[in-house]
């Protein structure tokens, strides 16, 4: 009997579930394109998404949480003119009905990061020099080109899709299979499009619903969880063969990624009064910004912590 070229959906789900349970493919502070569809399906229905103008009435204090409500032309000391003078600043809110569960998962991921992921990543970074780790990171970024390309097309961001296609060709051919990133050089300057299926759903009007913090995978929402499942099928390594192969590839990718960003999560955690709230707010803002500015750069500061691809 001829061998099946593509494993069945059942085997994907099994592989994804086992992968998530067994190994730390994600970290406490960064969502992954790998998800647990079963968990997503079991989640309660999305309640609402708030991206209301400042003038609108404030949402109830709990379980909905206000992320940011800043406006005005002067800073706190009333002596420096705000560069965003005249711009309308939106209030970003998200429901958090699962806060007790989410906080528990946040703690779990926090320990997972400090007790397992970070030590392994630190050991890895001692052995592998940074240029090599950057090359590996570039390779994986190049490999996830289909996610960004297809979603740019779905978002009717044709310039972004063309940019992604150009990046992929240039980096594959002249970047030694994607290990180097000549497309990002000053002369070529083709920017990576931070596009994923969750963002696409958001652009088409699907609300993000409530906040959910998955074990291992980190911050998400029902919409973005569905998006993660969609992105899985656009990620080439899942077609490599047995699920162990691509799961191993993903785990290695995550360790490599973490080794290049040790300290980011610690800084966020130290600066925050409530790290859980800080991560949740950063995630919500990041996703909202991605939807509002499709094809544009993600907001500084949280990009490294939260970007998927």
């Amino acid at each position: 009997m001829p061998q099946k070229a593509v494993p069945s959906i059942k085997s994907y789900l099994f592989g994804v579930t086992l992968f998530c349970v067994v190994l730390a493919a994600g970290c406490a502070h960064k969502p992954s394109v790998v998800s647990d569809p079963a968990s997503s399906a079991a989640a309660p229905p999305a309640q609402q998404v708030m991206a209301a103008p400042k003038a609108e009435p404030s949402p109830p204090p709990s379980p909905e949480v206000s992320v940011k409500a800043v406006s005005g032309n002067l800073d706190d000391y009333q002596d420096i003119e705000d560069p965003d003078k005249g711009k309308e600043v939106e209030k970003v809110t998200i429901a958090d009905p699962l806060e007790p569960f989410n906080r528990a998962m946040f703690q779990f991921n926090d320990k997972l990061y400090f007790w397992f992921l970070k030590p392994v990543a630190q050991g890895y970074s001692k052995v592998v020099p940074e240029p090599a780790r950057v090359g590996v990171s570039n390779f994986y970024t190049n490999l996830s080109f289909p996610i960004r390309f297809v979603n740019s097309l779905l978002q009717a961001n044709f310039a972004g899709a063309a940019s992604e296609l150009g990046r992929f060709i240039i980096n594959t051919v002249w970047g030694i299979g994607g290990l180097l990133d000549p497309a990002a050089s000053k002369e070529i300057d083709l920017k990576k499009q931070p596009a994923d299926f969750g963002q696409t759903l958001g652009i088409y009007g699907v609300g993000q619903g409530f906040y959910i913090h998955w074990p291992i995978l980190g911050p998400s929402s029902p919409r973005d969880t569905v998006g993660i499942v969609g992105d899985i099928f656009l990620y080439p390594s899942i077609y490599l063969g047995p699920w162990e192969v691509w799961a191993g590839a993903r785990v290695y990718e995550r360790f490599n990624y973490t080794s290049l960003r040790i300290g980011d999560y610690e800084s966020l955690k130290e600066a925050a009064i409530d790290p859980y709230v800080a991560v949740r707010d950063a995630y919500v803002q990041y996703r909202l910004n991605m939807i509002k500015h499709k094809g544009g750069p993600p907001p500084p500061g949280v990009k490294g912590l939260l970007e998927n691809n």
């Binding site: 240039i170 051919v173 002249w174 030694i176 299979g177 180097l180 000549p182 050089s185 002369e187 070529i188």
Partner: protein, 263 residues
């Protein structure tokens, strides 16, 4: 100055074309001056090369044709020294390898052919700028094929059917030469030079079929004459990319093109 440069180039071409040779070396040599940026650095490239050689053992002579696609990476030191490596895939055709030499033997095909075998090339070059628009360089490079080329054919000998498999093993080559480079307006480099070359491969038949010359036993095919000449153009495109077009001539003409990018 340009007149002097052109004179040198024309003389070099004449010298090369008057030297008798039988083979062309595998892969392009590139411009004598490294394509890296002035301060030095990494460069990569992707290219295609069509190679024709004449290979011979003690009795027979065969024409070979290779089509190669390759990826190149090199590191230049201040545009004077360069180390580079290529990895690629190549097909090989050996014309008339299965051609019968007697009427009592027939075969279903005459040519040996196999595609998509990995090869690698390593090389180094040095360049001395005599003048801002003219310089002389020297290079050495060698190629090795990781996999053997194999092909088979069926036929009859005095009415009895047979199947024969032929293997070309351990194909390698090494080349060295000097190049003269002139820079003309728009940053275009023209280069030309002579080279010496050696290649060989072991021929290994699965059986001895009378009437098929290459199946008489294990033998070595190699080039006979070692001299050849090459010439090319290296032109800037945009955004750090450059186009190289090169040709070589010895006994047969070979050529190819590559696009390089300098970091």
């Amino acid at each position: 100055m340009h007149t002097k440069t052109l004179k040198v180039m024309v003389i070099s071409i004449i010298i090369m074309l008057t030297i008798q040779g039988t083979v062309a070396a595998s892969g392009p040599f590139g411009p004598p001056q490294p394509v890296s940026r002035p301060a030095g650095g990494l460069h990569t490239g992707f290219g295609y090369w069509l190679q024709e050689d004449k290979l011979k053992n003690s009795n027979e002579e065969y024409i070979s044709r290779q089509q190669q696609i390759y990826s190149e990476m090199g590191y230049g030191f201040q545009k004077n020294w360069d180390l580079y490596a290529r990895v690629g895939l190549s097909g090989l055709k050996l014309f008339d390898a299965f051609s019968p030499t007697t009427t009592a033997t027939t075969t279903s095909k005459n040519d040996f052919s196999e595609n998509w075998k990995f090869f690698t090339t390593l090389g180094a070059k040095g360049f001395y700028p005599v003048h801002p628009a003219f310089g002389i360089g020297a290079f050495v490079q060698g190629s090795y094929y990781f996999s053997d080329f194999t092909d088979n054919t069926t036929g009859t000998r005095n009415g009895a059917p047979f199947t024969i498999e032929l293997g070309l093993k351990n194909l390698w080559d090494v080349s060295a030469g000097i190049g003269f480079q002139a820079t003309i307006p728009w940053g275009i480099n023209l280069y030309v030079g002579p080279y010496i070359y050696y290649t060989e491969t072991k021929v290994s038949p699965s059986a001895n079929i009378t009437g098929l010359a290459l199946t008489a036993g294990e033998t070595t095919l190699k080039n006979n004459t070692v001299f050849g000449g090459f010439a090319g153009i290296d032109a800037p495109l945009s955004r750090g990319f450059r186009l190289q077009i090169e040709g070589k001539y010895a006994d047969r003409l070979s050529g190819g093109a590559a696009i390089t990018y300098s970091y």
